[in-house]
């Protein structure tokens, strides 16, 4: 096993620059107002780089660059776009370890996740959309013998994308790959908590990307995000985050009459039926892992399986073993490949989680494990760590209704199928859900009855390209991670052509 040296130390695979400017028109451009802000690693709580603090002027410059590039990039062939996406994927693969360490340093997530999931998935995502755009076909409809409706896909032009901090690179790529494949130029604003890792990636890719096709402007939401989201020069806005900002972005989009895609999170139920305990076999073990998967990425996942619903017949036994599984989570230095649970991404995230631990206790939820901040030693002592926590309670509690975005599981029991579905659907959100059963019919019916865009059956937290991902209810609009996302980045041009020589006979 490996413990990577911290970026900045001599033998680290990743070295950040001390200062990052905007990436506009293929160049590194100082912010118009000349201001920078610090990027803090949650691993130690210390600043490691300065990042340009963008404003409306920088967004306008990025849009100028994007529109300057649009005539040529919008006109590229699918084959040319696929070549670029594949080259990006290859370059990322050659630098996987460095990118993974950089991402861990910026976000705090364990390096075993960035090495095995975040970055490999991002690489595959570019390759998937390289293939998808080559295979995409327009359609035609034969209206009558002499009349044909041709439907062509056309790029939108220039689009805006606002990226969250929980998977800074992977969520960036989920948005970039389909936008580029569809022939659009992009102005992208990373999250202010994690502004540097995307720029670390762009540095590796800058010689591949035609100038102006991808532009990255960092900054705060009110100063850089709003001028992007409300700008009349974008043809679409994509956002992942929370509901208030999602609604505000829709309000801005309504002024400009442009489409939005939104991914706004969830409070995902993970349902465990009694038949799991029929045997203590490999499947039982798999289900226990499924119970513990709320700890992945410290719970900072929009689809965190943060509500466990366990059927009463096996509840005591299964939960006891589940708690034992959670006890074995190794928490510590995110740069150690043995670490399973790393640091929360920011101090305000840490504070929010602690406020939920407090309200959970006030509401009478019983902590089966954890329930406190985790203090680590040495130079990790300033970092943002929370103990993996299981609260036993009921679904009306706030900890069952809001996504805590921490390693916190809210656990309850159910009697029968109908109660399980009723509790599962008693939420404002509908992004992810899990169903665990040996009975295919039970699993199928539960999966269909849960109001969520992604139901994992007998697995959880897999995010392969070519499986559509998106929300019902207040969880958002659109489906990422699938070729259907291309539709969200394309116009439909219909040519309605008459091959008849004869007049209609009306005038």
């Amino acid at each position: 096993m490996t413990v990577y040296a911290q970026p900045g130390q001599a033998d680290s695979p990743a070295t950040f620059k001390s200062r990052y400017e905007h990436f506009i028109g293929g160049k590194w451009v100082a912010p118009v107002k000349g201001e920078y802000f610090e990027d803090i690693t949650p691993v130690t709580g210390k600043a490691f780089a300065e990042v340009a603090r963008g404003t409306a002027e920088d967004i306008e410059a990025a849009l100028d660059a994007a529109w300057a590039a649009a005539p040529s990039w919008n006109a590229t062939t699918p084959a040319e776009r696929a070549v670029l996406l594949n080259k990006i994927a290859d370059r990322m693969e050659e630098n996987l370890e460095a990118i993974a360490v950089a991402e861990t340093w910026d976000n705090g997530k364990p390096v075993r996740e960035t090495l095995a999931a975040d970055i490999p998935l991002a690489i595959d995502h570019f390759r998937y959309f390289a293939g998808a755009i080559r295979a995409q076909e327009g359609r035609l409809s034969q209206i009558d013998e002499d009349t044909v409706a041709y439907h062509f896909h056309e790029p939108l032009g220039v689009v805006g994308q606002i990226i969250p901090w929980n998977f800074p690179i992977l969520m960036g790529v989920w948005k970039l790959a389909p936008a580029l494949a569809a022939g659009n130029c992009v102005v992208l604003k990373p999250a202010e908590q994690t502004p540097a890792s995307i720029l670390f990636l762009i540095e590796l890719l800058e010689d591949l990307i035609p100038a102006g096709v991808v532009n990255v402007v960092n900054g705060f939401g009110a100063e850089a995000g709003k001028p992007l989201a409300s700008n009349p020069r974008i043809r679409k806005i994509a956002f992942t985050g929370e509901t208030t900002t999602g609604r505000l972005i829709m309000q801005y989009a309504s002024e400009n009459i442009i489409p939005v895609t939104l991914e706004l999170g969830g409070k995902s139920p993970n349902i465990f039926f009694d038949d799991i305990a029929q045997e203590k076999d490999a499947f039982y073990d798999k289900a226990l892992e499924g119970f513990a998967l709320f700890g992945l990425n410290q719970g900072e996942v929009c689809t965190c399986p943060s509500r466990a619903l366990v059927q009463k017949g096996m509840y005591d036994e299964f939960v006891a073993e589940g708690v034992e599984r959670v006890k074995k989570m190794v928490q510590g230095n995110p740069l150690d490949t043995n670490t399973m649970v790393g640091a929360q991404a920011s101090t305000d995230q840490l504070e929010k989680i602690l406020s939920y631990l407090d309200i959970g206790k006030q509401e009478g939820a019983k902590a089966l494990i954890g329930g406190e901040r985790m203090e680590l030693d040495g130079d990790l002592s300033g970092g943002y760590y929370v103990q993996p926590t299981i609260f036993e309670g009921d679904n009306t509690m706030r900890i069952f209704q809001e996504e805590i975005f921490g390693p916190v599981l809210s656990l309850t029991s159910f009697t029968d199928f109908d109660e399980a579905i009723s509790v599962a659907n008693d939420t404002l959100y509908g992004l992810g859900a899990g169903v665990w059963s040996r009975n295919g019919t039970t699993a199928y019916r539960a999966g269909r009855a849960i109001q969520a865009g992604r139901v994992w059956v007998n697995n959880y937290h897999n995010y392969p390209a070519h499986a559509a991902f998106g929300g019902y209810k207040s969880s958002g609009i659109g489906r990422e991670n699938h070729l259907m996302m291309l539709d969200h980045y394309q116009q439909t041009k219909n040519l309605l052509v008459s091959y008849s020589q004869n007049a209609m006979g009306l005038f």
Binding site: F37, I40, R53, P164, W165, N166, A191, E192, Q193, F220, G221, A222, E223, G225, K226, A229, T240, G241, E242, T243, T244, T245, G246, R247, L248, Q251, E263, L264, G265, G266, C302, S346, T347, D348, E351, K352, S355, Y356, D358, I359, Q362, E363, T396, R398, Q401, E402, E403, I404, F405, L428, Y429, S474, S475
Partner: protein
């Protein structure tokens, strides 16, 4: 701070309490001294302010602070409380509304909210992010 704590809520020095909204008879929104101080700073810079309580992922559960009217509320929202914000010298700044979506209110209405400010960065389009501080919703069970 010129104002003295008016209530102690879970150990926080609440210095400003909001009157209930028209659909509610419970005073369920209050502000700590740190929040009021930050609000004064933002009010001086941006003019009248409002809050909309967020839900969902990432920065969900954060109280988002906007210029008043920037976020359009409607029938899908509930006004949780209106506080009269005054400046350090006691001069009146104006009414500060806190809104929440109706569906989220229904899930939260057994709790009261204490808006605090802590060190942090924030996200979304909330006005305080560049200040290095972050508004934070702390919660308390209501007696009702």
């Amino acid at each position: 701070m010129s104002q003295k704590p008016v209530t102690q809520v879970a150990g926080f020095d609440v210095v400003l309490e909001a009157a209930p909204g028209p659909e509610d008879d419970v005073a369920r929104v209050a502000y700590t001294a740190a929040a009021v101080e930050l609000l004064r700073e933002l009010w001086r810079r941006h003019g009248p302010l409002m809050f909309h309580q967020s839900g969902g992922c990432c920065d969900g559960s954060a109280p988002m602070c906007f210029p008043a009217g920037e976020f359009r509320t409607g029938g899908a929202d509930v006004l949780m409380g209106t506080a009269e914000l005054s400046d350090d010298d006691g001069s009146v700044l104006g009414p500060l509304e806190l809104w929440i979506s109706r569906e989220q209110f229904n899930a939260w209405k057994h709790t009261a909210l204490v808006i605090d400010a802590v060190k942090g960065r924030g996200s979304g389009f909330s006005l305080e992010a560049p200040t290095g501080q972050r508004f934070l919703t702390r919660s308390q069970l209501c007696a009702t």
